[in-house]
Amino acid sequence: MAKTLFDKVWDSHVVRSIKDGPDVFFIDRHFIHEVTSPVAFLGLESRNNSVLYPERTFATADHNTPTMNQHLPVEDPLSANQLNALEKNAAKYGISHWGLGDENNGIVHVIGPENGITLPGSTIVCGDSHTSTHGAFGAIAFGIGTSEVEMVLSTQCIMQPKPKKMRINVVGKLGLGVTPKDVALYIIAKQTTSGATGYFVEYAGEVFEDMSMEGRMTVCNLSIEMGARGGMIAPDAKTYEYLKGRSQTPKGADWDKAMNYWQTLYTEEDAVFDEEFTYEASDIEPMITYGTNPGMGMGVTKSIPTAESLEGGIETYRKSLGYMAFSEGDSMIGKPIDFVFLGSCTNGRIEDFRAFCSIVEGRKKADTVTAWLVPGSHKVVDQIKAEGLDKIILDAGFVLREPGCSACLAMNDDKIPAGKLSVSTSNRNFEGRQGPGSRTLLASPLVAAASAVEGVVTDPRTLMAS
């Protein structure tokens, strides 16, 4: 039977299948961070197990880290405690650890690809739902719980039933000001936050073929927001070009061998998906969310739908709008904002900073807006400086911070105060996600930049045209 890309990668990692049960699924690469790993290490110790393949696990500090003055000790004792636990556990078991201040440190889903740890055809897990990011390289990558982190540490396997397969095609060409983030938010708005539950998604079609690796990472990153276990895109010349020469990618004859394998990673023509959707690129405009889940998004020029126009859950819908202090029928354009956040594993890559700078260059930040610009890694910082983007940022009245998850989930010092409205390039607008009582509008770096200079929600196309 003809195989999909997903079938090829999944099937080649099954150690054994259990009848009417899960597959024993082998993991090539395991990322750990300070929040979801400490209890897994405790479990390991209480069972007297060790780490079976320490060279397959990579540790970084990101969720808890401050984004200013990283050279100083971390002030929050609980955060410091978690960061210390990670460092200690990594040292004890011989796991590579890129802690705070290390030149390779950054957000786990930014540094994986950047260092060539993420490879096509591999399986990657991490105790973080946005592990789906790595699917951009044709890997099967998904988030796991702490019990599973312990499983991978001690046996390099987890036990998973094979998900169903979905293909999402986006055909045609994207319009002015429409970024990969908008493509993803558009798809999630169509699918809702549960539309792809039980599925693994392959993204296909011209729009993804044209997309940069950074853009593909943004789209795959957000797959989890429609309930999918993960998303993936078949590797191509762009993928190989991105990977070649990175610190951990195969070299010499190993590279040639890997390339031979990678070129077999595509969905065969007769392969069948359990579900398939096709969207037109020309229907997508810059997006913005208005509610408290990522599925509650719309074109930035549209008005908030009425509860009656949606299927089911009217009470939940009204609760959500009530939290946001919005009303049905409201237009988002022109709403005054308090904060802008550029960063996270969704939009903290070099391309996102380029996009942001393309709007703010020669303009000034609105006085009423507090902006946090947080690169995803030290390598992104270096690239920002090498390209002179730091000067543009500074001239426009912004400050560049140090890498970390920052205001995406507010486990660190970067919290949006209660009641304040934030335009955020991160991945979730859940109640209190950016701090208790905070209100989040998810958007692309272009929408964030335009809103940062205007002080109100702004369609970036109006600034791009002028």
Partner: protein, 199 residues
């Protein structure tokens, strides 16, 4: 992570008829800073359960005396969406719940529940609505969750529905086993398999 065996559970239930309840509500990120698995019940639904000054919100179902001590939570559609944080499942367990019933669960949350001894029972939307109506009408309404026979029953009317769980996970829940026990037993096979991986 050891947990108590699960066979048949009969209990009243907390109703939470809200859709898309995400893991950030079940336990907000600021309470994920522990390095040990202790006391996750304290901040279970923290921001929905308590006002900012720390006083309980009287109208939130988990605070209502009439449901106190229930071992089942009946949640709205797409329960547990969002993060992979297992802390969400720990807080369900630590709060004293052994079963969550919903018409749809997010994948990772469901998996995490199974790994920590909480049984996620997926029922039809119609059955879930019937449970909500019955509990709202009478908080003493008891629900029986029969894992061996994969059946959930509303004891007041006898209305029941069967639910799915794969045989392997069912055996684990019935015996209090977990995946690591299984995986450690086939370690040699895993090591042989690892040798075939190209990178």
């Amino acid at each position: 992570m050891a947990y108590d065996k699960f066979t048949t559970l009969t209990s009243t239930a907390y109703p939470l008829p809200i859709e898309n309840v995400d893991t950030d509500q079940i336990i907000p990120a600021r309470f994920l800073k522990a390095t040990e698995r202790v006391d996750f019940d304290t901040n279970f639904f923290r921001d929905w359960r308590y006002n900012q000054d720390g006083t309980p919100k009287a109208d939130f179902p988990l605070n209502k005396e009439m449901y106190a001590g229930s071992k089942i939570l009946v949640g709205g559609r797409n329960f547990g969406s969002g993060s992979s944080r297992e802390h969400a499942a720990w807080s369900v367990y630590d709060f004293g719940l052994r079963c969550v019933i919903s018409s749809a669960f997010a994948d990772i949350f469901k998996n995490n529940c199974l790994n920590v001894g909480v049984l996620p029972v997926q029922v039809s939307a119609k059955f879930a609505d019937m449970l909500f109506d019955a509990i709202m009408a009478d908080p003493k309404t008891e629900i029986e969750v029969d894992l061996p026979n994969q059946k959930v029953t509303l004891l007041t009317t006898g209305a029941s529905e069967s639910f799915d769980i794969n045989t392997y996970k069912k055996d684990n829940m019935l015996n209090g086993f977990d995946d690591i026990d299984y995986l450690k037993n086939i370690e040699e096979e895993i090591v042989e398999f690892a040798k075939t991986r190209p990178f």
